[in-house]
């Protein structure tokens, strides 16, 4: 192509008035021909654009995430938990023999006794403390001479 028409195209290119076809022509011209010095900048620019277009995405694209596996695991774990609680109930806690019941009642009585003992002693302590308090009040009245 003549230099004249290239220069005209370049002016249009700078004003963003060129069509894609004309731009392809320019790209072609600057990649093949030896370019006059006053248009050297365009050669750099167009070469850069053609080079940029060759760059490719090389990594793989994972469409499924690892989270799905964890999701399944959590469900499996919860099912296992429910089943284990269910079977433990079946096996152990429902069958209480009469002798075991008696033992439990005995233990209950013993603990009640122990608690009552503790509460009695606590009440004693409280009474002593209250009497001590009244002594203190007497002393206070003496000091302030009511």
């Amino acid at each position: 192509m003549e230099l004249n028409s290239i220069e005209k195209l370049l002016e249009k290119y700078e004003n963003a008035e060129t069509s894609l076809k004309e731009e392809a022509l320019l790209k072609d011209y600057f990649s093949n021909n030896t370019v006059p010095t006053h248009l050297q900048e365009y050669k750099l620019i167009f070469n850069y654009f053609s080079e940029s277009k060759t760059e490719q995405f090389t990594k793989t694209i994972p469409l499924k995430r690892k989270t799905s596996k964890v999701w399944w695991l959590s469900i499996a774990a919860s099912i296992a938990l429910v089943f284990s609680v269910y079977f433990m109930n079946d096996a152990g806690f429902d069958k209480i023999t009469p002798s075991e019941q008696q033992e439990a009642a005995l233990a209950f009585k013993e603990t009640q006794k122990a608690f009552q003992l503790i509460s009695k002693n606590l009440n004693k302590g409280e009474n002593i403390a209250m009497s001590g308090l009244s002594e203190f009040e007497k002393a206070q009245n003496k000091v302030f001479k009511k």
Partner: protein
């Protein structure tokens, strides 16, 4: 949209998505992460994808929005490394060095442009989209696209000439 359709229509866009992401995010690693994230999102919404008339424009818009969000989050602020590994073993070493130098010069100049002009340059001059397609992707009027593009092209050339004549004039 089914898997086969997805593979045929959306997957071939991966290079374009990656290049736009890299233009905005600068670092290759960030761009790769962004591309993977975007494809995961697209895949999750594959049922809705069939409703869009222009899936390509939709994917590119998503890329733009995602990258701008990333930039806003300033997560990528400490990753300002410029990668220019343009592999080409056909030309001689000196020629390659020369080319790399000048090519990365243009790269740096584009990097200094505002985000909008960057995206338009990328979409028009690298990916060769039509003006109204770019308008759809970036949600702009085609005339606004032309104005910004013209401004960007002029800036790049003026800066190149300035650098070229540095110390001479």
């Amino acid at each position: 949209m089914k898997q086969a359709e997805f593979l045929n229509t959306v997957l071939p866009l991966k290079d374009k998505v990656f290049r736009l992401a890299k233009r905005l995010l600068v670092s290759t690693d960030e761009a790769e992460d962004a591309t993977q994230e975007l494809y995961f999102k697209l895949w999750k919404n594959k049922k809705k994808l069939g409703e869009y008339k222009n899936v390509e424009a939709f994917a590119m818009t998503m890329t733009k929005n995602y990258c701008l969000d990333q930039l806003k989050a300033k997560r990528s602020n400490n990753l300002k490394l410029v990668h220019s590994n343009y592999a080409d073993d056909t030309i001689s070493l000196q020629r390659e060095l020369e080319l790399k130098d000048s090519v990365s010069k243009v790269h740096q100049l584009i990097e200094k442009l505002p985000a909008k002009q960057k995206m338009i340059i990328q979409l028009r001059d690298v990916e060769n989209y039509e003006y109204d397609e770019i308008g759809k992707i970036l949600d702009l009027q085609p005339t606004a696209v032309r104005v910004a593009l013209s401004r960007a092209r002029k800036t790049i050339r003026e800066q190149l000439i300035k650098q070229h004549n540095y110390g001479i004039k």
